[in-house]
Symmetry: C2
């Protein structure tokens, strides 16, 4: 341990295992992810507050918009919350006529969720604010960077969850 005078830790990661990355690179990622994510969602929060809704409602709206006729249990998988928590959110949304449900035809136990026209309008509005910010970030970073951005994020998602995310991609007709 011949680390000289400097009180800075031995960060010469590069040396050994490639998985043991320099702490700085990891901290940088953590911080950018934190600030980037919170800033992106902040815009949405404001738009939602006006309608008396919260972030949870937006997430539900988003996935329903993304996959019309989504079932409750699929939505639960996306949101990874409990049935009870989702129940409240879904009730709020249908009271406000933003979401409607009908019985599944194949399996009539299922409830197929869809946005009403008003719901679609609201979702589009909120999405517009996401688009502005993300599109600006894409543009500033350049298209080459976008691929890397996606790539790293994909790596953060555990394998068992990838099929779920991929399902969204497909519904993107």
């Amino acid at each position: 341990m011949a680390v000289p005078s400097s009180n800075s830790p031995d960060r010469s990661s590069s040396a050994a295992s490639p998985l043991f990355l320099r702490e700085d690179e990891v901290r940088r990622g953590v911080e950018l992810l934190y600030f980037g994510y919170t800033r992106l969602t902040r815009s949405i929060d404001e738009g939602l507050a006006k309608q008396g809704l919260g972030r949870a409602h937006h997430r539900a709206l988003y996935f329903i918009a993304r996959q019309p006729d989504l079932t409750v249990s699929d939505l639960l998988r996306f949101l990874a919350i409990t049935k009870q928590s989702l129940g409240r959110v879904l009730n709020d949304l249908s009271e406000r006529d933003l979401v409607e449900a009908r019985k599944g035809e194949i399996d009539r136990r299922q409830k197929l969720l869809r946005l009403t026209e008003a719901g679609a309008r609201l979702e589009a509005d909120l999405f517009e604010s996401l688009r502005e910010k993300l599109a600006a970030a894409y543009a500033a970073a350049g298209q080459e960077s976008v691929g890397g951005f996606w790539h790293v994020l994909e790596g953060l998602i555990p394998e068992e969850d990838l099929p779920m995310v991929a399902a969204l991609k497909e519904s993107r007709k």
Copy 2:
């Protein structure tokens, strides 16, 4: 909109309005950011629950670890929550002897926050779990992707907040 037959995206960013990106690209970013971010923080939540702490405590720990002798008001800027909310968190942390404070020497109204040894150990533990995941994602994506990842995220942070984020970078002496 004379986008030709090809179903491949019109990515010649250059094309029309470079800010009006294809919806799919934005949705993909939103989704990856959501799943990536939640999966990354999930690991942390488990570690914290054991100590009876929550995510809020981790954020405070993280920034204090990052910038020893951080003042309360600087921490408030990072976290973007109210003094009252932070107060509770900080009390929890000092009750558990994870954080300690001393008076500022230059300005004695200030409280300079530091981790205790136990606090540093806990933070290092939690960070380790972040490192594992993020390092694996970096490795899987390749170093070229990491730059793009950072770049796009930077673009999500409003200009007025960039100095704050940069301050962290510097303290990373």
